[in-house]
């Protein structure tokens, strides 16, 4: 598939598509073992200046280890970590131009907010007057001016998160590492803070590397996401590509809801992949960049919001991209409804419908016979 726009484009910033661009951070064939456990396995990754990059995966997938190797708390067992053109393997954390915001915030309990924020500057031997100026600047940035003299235990969780952020930003690092930065906040505060983090990153023009297990958080803040599993990167792409063109069943199911079908590829004309799902008596036709060889087993994924739900068989479908079923469950969420439809082979398929009008002529109810159908470009053929 050519580079056509999929989903909203945040801004025209895509150094990863430019072969001449020099990455700021590069992992080259990095492996990290803890005893017998392989945390990261032969991994390559490039992250560019000013990028907001997210490492996404379940706990134990190696994302935190990857970040800690950049911070200097771990060294790779094999391979190289390059920061700004120089290998940082063996360089102690206190000599690296990166700062980290810890998941637990790791604020010094015996120091007040000001002292916490100024701690890194003091280590650099900055003069007291300069520290005071920078600390005041940081306090303003995170809107904590009235709390300068408070100790961490006198602050709320959200305020502590801001102190931790200010402290890690105070030294103006080349890269800011954020380890589950919003994990300890409640949902509403988390959403607000996500947008603040994005604004802050744009304003400061810094490179941010965030580790998270929350796909929504990664989708919201990041320019690119690396989806990880068992020490490997499964896919690196922009949030919209990850959502619309997952390369594997793992990525497709990790991010958002998805309906997946297994079938056998049959020969077709150029640009179209045709998959026969024998169990459902249905054929799937899809346009897409990935085209498995004829005769191979293949997986097809389609998102619930791209599935049409109709009472009657769609005309001209003729068993292609259309399947009958029975409504099993309906969840009404206000803005939309989620339908669970049981197909002939027992598989339950999900379809969502935006509730665009308050009154529906022929509402679809429980146990109704319905048809599910979708366009050729609605879904994606998965690579693995």
């Amino acid at each position: 598939m050519s580079k056509q726009a999929i989903g909203p484009i945040r801004r025209s910033f895509a150094p990863w598509d430019d072969p001449a661009a020099k990455p700021l951070i590069e992992y080259r064939g990095v492996t990290k073992r803890f005893g017998d456990f392989v945390a990261v396995e032969n991994l390559d990754l490039k992250i560019y200046t000013r990028e907001f990059f997210a490492l996404l995966g379940p706990s134990g997938c190696g994302k935190t280890t990857l970040m800690r190797m950049l911070a200097g708390f771990e060294d790779p067992t094999q391979g190289d970590v390059i920061l700004d053109g120089k290998s940082v393997v063996g360089v102690p954390p206190y000599r690296r131009p990166v700062n980290m915001m810890f998941q637990s915030y790791a604020l010094f309990p015996h120091m007040n907010v000001e002292q916490n924020i100024g701690f890194g500057l003091k280590q650099d031997g900055m003069s007291k007057a300069d520290i005071a100026v920078r600390v005041a600047e940081m306090l303003k940035l995170v809107k904590l001016e009235p709390f300068a003299k408070r100790k961490p235990h006198q602050l709320s969780g959200g305020q502590r998160q801001r102190v931790a952020l200010a402290r890690s930003l105070a030294k103006r690092p080349k890269v800011l590492l954020l380890d589950e930065p919003l994990g300890a906040l409640d949902k509403k505060l988390r959403q607000e803070t996500q947008f603040e983090l994005m604004d802050l990153q744009q304003e400061l023009g810094m490179t941010f590397l965030v580790v998270t297990h929350d796909q929504e958080e990664a989708m919201t803040v990041a320019d690119r996401i690396a989806v990880m599993d068992k020490g490997k990167i499964i896919q690196v792409a922009t949030p919209s590509e990850i959502y619309e063109q997952p390369n594997s069943r793992y990525v497709a199911s990790f991010i958002g809801d998805v309906n997946m079908f297994e079938g056998k590829t049959v020969p077709t004309a150029d640009g179209i992949t045709r998959i026969e799902c024998g169990a459902l008596g249905m054929a799937i036709e899809s346009e897409g960049s990935h085209k498995p060889a004829a005769g191979e087993a293949a997986w097809f994924a389609v998102r619930p919001e791209k599935v049409r739900l109709t009472s009657d068989a769609p005309p001209d479908a003729a068993g292609v991209n259309a399947v009958p079923g029975e409504v099993w469950d309906i969840a009404y969420l206000g803005d939309m409804s989620i339908f669970h439809v049981k197909l002939a082979n027992g598989q339950v398929m999900t379809a969502t419908r935006a509730n665009i009008s308050r009154i529906v002529d022929k509402p679809i109810g429980w146990d109704d016979k319905v048809w599910l159908s979708w366009d050729r470009n609605a879904g994606v053929v998965l690579q693995g």
Binding site: Y94, G120, H153, R167
Partner: protein, 320 residues
Amino acid sequence: MTAIDVAAPASDADTGARTSALGRLLVIGIPYAWMAFFFLVPFLIVVKISFSETAIAIPPYTPVFDFAVDGIAGTIAKLGELSLATYEFLTTDSLYWRSYLSSVWIAGTSTVITLAIGYPLAYGMARCPREWRPMLLMMVILPFWTSFLIRVYAWIGILSREGLLNKLLISIGLVDPAQPLVILSTTTAVYIGIVYSYLPFMVLPLYASLEKLDETLLEAAADLGCTPWRAFWQVTFPLSLPGVIAGCFLVFIPAVGEFVIPDLLGGSETLMIGKTLWTEFFNNRDWPVASAVAVILLLILVIPIVLFQNQQAKAQETGR
């Protein structure tokens, strides 16, 4: 929710609170009663004796209160016989204030040495693999399983002229056999004895405060440009201060009044208030002076104890 809904569990909680308040009073009351009978009453007797005068009698002081003989009026009359004479006497002889000063000095120096040895020990224990810690902790506590007196006696065998230490040093040629080291019966031996005996009291609170130190704080310090040495002084040490203070008081307070160690290991030049008190009581049979010495010792120690408790209360308040 209706008012009844609220009221019912509230009254329940009320009776619950009342019984638990009674239970709490009992729980607190028992140790208080214990302290009153076995500490406060004997101490008041000591205070009373300190205001009496020596006499050649049994008991060896006067006046002796005896309600059965004197009745209330007689007892009140006898109160008039009490005097501050013994306290005045304490000021006339330099022996007493020199003993106090020397005790405080020896205890203070020993506390500093104990801290210097105990801190690295506790730090090493708190930083070693988790599965080793119970064993190391056990090794710190293990000496308590032997009598304190026996352990101090054992030091005589080590430190004497023909002791293990001298034999070892002579055998490796560090010490001239004709002139063995004289350690026993010197103040040095007292320092060794105190530091050895009280080391666990320093290590345990230090270990407790170092063990709960969050290691990500050290990672954060390193991340912000702090070398390990600076991270120790800026993060680890300040956060272990409650343990340092607790350990110092636990060593200093009992060391000031120590009697067994200076008596067994120290020589005649080692002046400690515990020894002075012993001499007054058993050799001179001067109970009033011995009591006065004890009362003043207690007053001296009350100051650090109050400081200690203030510090503990402050530590509780900040939740650290």
